[in-house]
Subunit: 137 residues, 3 copies
């Protein structure tokens, strides 16, 4: 099963999207055991799993990214704005996809794990994900 | 096939766990071609593949992580200890899962590849993995 | 379906290999919906997805990696050359594999996404990939 999920435009930063993704995938319930692949079709936003409770964690992940992949660096690719090239590097560091186990009709995440959409551009716009599920019912 | 694997508590640092993981998955032998997905259900420990020979490599990966994701940073999320927020960032950098090819009943790793459990907390405790295998027998 | 792909030796740096990988996988055409797993069997080269248009982006990703995972660091594992230990860290940061959705017989990448082979060694030689496809025809 494959389905496109469109995430609305969000400001630069790290956003928790677990419920939104789960709601878009009612077919999860039909799988007893399997794997869910979530893929972002962009090169300046990314997906990762991290702590789903404190918004401070998301703010701190964003701060670290900005400090260690700074706009002020000897970039040569600058014509799309000072946030563009850092966005590309951050996207590869966090990664373009997540593969998550499915158990008993649900994403088998740990208690504290949530899906982060990392928006690395100042104005990234809508982001398109492609979800592919497979397993046994 | 899906199976939980519990890894015993280990000190902060990078640990080679290939044999332990393979021993826990006798079902690998039944698959001629396939994929093994290994998923860590935590946000302050991570999984990666790297050099399986020299312990120096593991020590150096840990040194780099400590130098570039330092405890001494403008973190706001500090109430769980100075090792906590760096652990979250390191976990996203290394990643929460590995997908590895299966060929002829074994993980088809390169000669020098081994599975690293990266324990980012000072006292992380036991770590729970969920392994999902699929393929053709 | 599983197939080994040998990529010819390339200089240290970031290389776009999308067409080469797609040409090596004619079986993609037989899958309506599925997932392609691409795995590099080495610990000093890596795979990521990023911008497929401007060569400047690839040059800048390489510059960032060299600046933030420097050869001049307190490495202990130095007997294989000053480019070796940075290569191991970079390989884990970028990652050893890509999982990409397949739709209508093609890799369902975004418009701007391309497959990067990141060669982290000065003289890495040929690199061996293992591709595993699964899905529905």
């Amino acid at each position: 099963m494959q389905r496109e999920i469109t995430l609305r435009a969000r400001p630069r930063g790290v956003h928790l999207v677990t419920s939104e993704v789960e709601r878009a995938l009612p077919e999860l319930r039909e799988l007893r055991v399997g794997v869910a692949h979530l893929f972002i079709r962009h090169t300046s936003a990314s997906l990762t799993l991290n702590e789903n409770a404190s918004p401070d964690v998301r703010r701190d992940v964003e701060s670290w990214l900005n400090a260690y992949v700074p706009e002020d660096f000897a970039w040569t690719h600058t014509l799309e704005g000072s946030d563009d090239m850092p966005a590309h590097v951050k996207a590869s560091l966090m990664g373009p996809s997540l593969t998550m186990p499915i158990a008993d009709g649900r994403l088998a995440l740990g208690t504290w794990q949530g899906i982060y959409l990392c928006e690395h551009r100042d104005r990234g716009g809508e982001r398109s994900l492609l979800a592919t599920l497979h397993g046994e019912g």
